[in-house]
Subunit: 340 residues, 2 copies
């Protein structure tokens, strides 16, 4: 079969890879129906992480081809969505809702790579969720979003304590930030402030539920957030970038006692203890336990209550993934869907 | 009247200060019955913070002398305990339970200083809690503890999510760490691991509810905690020191999805974003909103359910406070009670 390999910085190739097969009795092999490029894929693409012939891709909608003897919740022919982290969903950490740090966790990126025609999914019962049936074609982008960006934005909103009566600030207007807006809206937030300076993204932010847009950054951005919150700061702040600047933006935009849900993969971030201490905020984040939320998210999508798939504004054949990386790198595309 | 002034590093003097008087209609003036030296007073004492003729002391049990016209909840003659941060207890931040960051917050240290014969307490209604009557003499140390170390340890245990079925690790065997143990026990924690290498403190830790003692620090300390928690780490970790070492000890001792309540005043701490991100822990802490817990804590003390006052193992006349600072500095005393 064929799939995407990142040979090095900026070097994305579509090439032959060994056919995945069931290796463990808990494995499933799935045919990929749709995959995509993630904002986090840009870290290696830009050379911040050192890619070395890395199998790419960790978001996927698929159809089960074959399963190992111990797999009981999905069968060949089933349509499935899974998380970007393999989890057994039975260990104590999974039971507590932190499947992304399952004692048997494996990141799909690198080990597996779903920007491909097929993928082997270990711990299929704990990782995959079967769809109610064959998804209508227009649902596929939304289901694909559930695999990571929606689940991640949802976790961030949850970790930030978004809810009725709350003001939520969202730092980052990439796909995850936009999904954080959608999640905050679903959770009943009263005011949702999107920090964005890009007109098309501002528009999408509004579609997803943003009530206010703040284009300023740094101290000016913080001042604007304070202005919109009686001088106090947001109750709940979503951080969806992962840089020092964005984390400090989040910390400083949050009121004492408020919460920050951070899901941008941290790169060279050092949090100053003193400022955090006197800020008296809650901080919670990391790789989102998407599997926790998947059944609920699939439901909301299947019932057409939410349409997170709107976040994809470019679609390409898998063979042309390199163009998709380029388009996301130069912010021409918010998120690129790939079809094998 | 007389009170304690820290002239500079290690230079603690008992001297004349102006008599406090009601200045605002929301003020009360109280006669101090008991005050004490706090672990945090050692930061300026040791020269980490730069003391410059600073009025010292922020813990207090007192009796109201006089009140301003707007004060309604305490009257002259009432016995009172208050928090180490002045709060109006009516603003939106206070309403949310974060009185230590009240929009009118004033730290008692520096501005007021309760290592003194009298003190002016602004926002008396929002800061002080009247006791049910004249406290028995043996209750005074415990009531004094409520003013900061107990309230702070309680907040840390609460922020860490201590509760039934939980394993709580406590980093720091100072007064606040010990109070964290007492709090975790009251909250129903199943296993409480005290990190302590000092025999008398280990003993007190056990009295307050510790079930296990870990004397190791650093990587070895983390390994011991893992050993005691099926390899996963504590559900809830209390950090009560405030150094880089202790914060990292806390982060690394906590399981994914677990929580850290940190109340040691941060000094030169830089938290590595990447490790925090992949740790997937909750982090919450800062100056404890003691006022939130005071009514409940006073109740527990008044009913003799808890005896946090055991944390005081030295008592001195206020005039000899300098000796108390010295005894705490060289860890001869855990906490020193001062009587004017």
């Amino acid at each position: 079969m064929r799939g995407i390999i990142m040979h090095g910085k900026g070097d994305v190739r579509f090439e032959e890879r060994p056919d995945p097969r069931v290796e463990q009795p808990t494995d499933a092999v799935i045919k990929i129906i749709a995959a995509c490029v993630c904002g986090s894929d840009l870290w290696p693409y830009r050379g911040y992480d050192q890619p070395d012939h890395q199998k790419m891709g960790h978001e996927y909608v698929g159809q089960v081809e074959s399963v190992g003897d111990d797999v009981t919740t999905v069968s060949p022919g089933d349509y499935v969505v899974g998380s970007f982290v393999i989890s057994d969903n039975t260990c104590e950490i999974c039971e507590a809702g932190y499947q992304s740090r399952c004692v048997n966790a494996v990141f799909v990126d690198g080990e597996i790579g779903t920007q491909a025609e097929y993928a082997r999914i270990p711990h299929a019962d704990g990782t995959l969720v079967a769809l109610p049936g064959k998804p209508d074609d227009d649902l596929v982008p939304s289901l694909l979003a559930a695999s990571d960006v929606l689940g991640t934005g949802w976790f961030a909103a949850d970790a930030a304590g978004a809810g009725p009566g709350k003001t939520v600030a969202v730092v980052g207007d990439g796909a995850v930030g936009l999904m954080g807006i959608l999640a905050a809206k679903q959770m009943g937030a009263e005011k949702i402030i999107a920090m964005s300076r890009h007109e098309p993204r501002q528009q999408l932010a509004r579609e997803f539920g943003a009530t206010d847009i703040v284009a300023e950054r740094g101290a000016e951005g913080v001042a604007k957030i304070k202005e919109l919150t009686d001088g106090l700061g947001a109750h709940a702040t979503i951080e969806a970038v992962g840089t020092q600047e964005s984390m400090m933006q989040a910390v400083r935009s949050t009121r004492p006692g408020g919460s920050i849900g951070y899901v941008g993969v941290s790169h060279d971030v050092e949090l100053p203890g003193g400022e955090l201490f006197f800020g008296l905020v809650h901080l919670h984040g990391g790789p989102a336990p998407v599997r926790r939320y998947l059944p609920e998210l699939i439901d909301l999508i299947w019932n057409r209550t939410i349409e997170p798939g709107k976040v994809f504004n470019m679609e390409l054949p898998l063979a042309e993934a390199a163009r998709g990386y380029e388009a996301m790198d130069n912010r021409e595309a918010i998120k690129v869907l790939l079809r094998p």
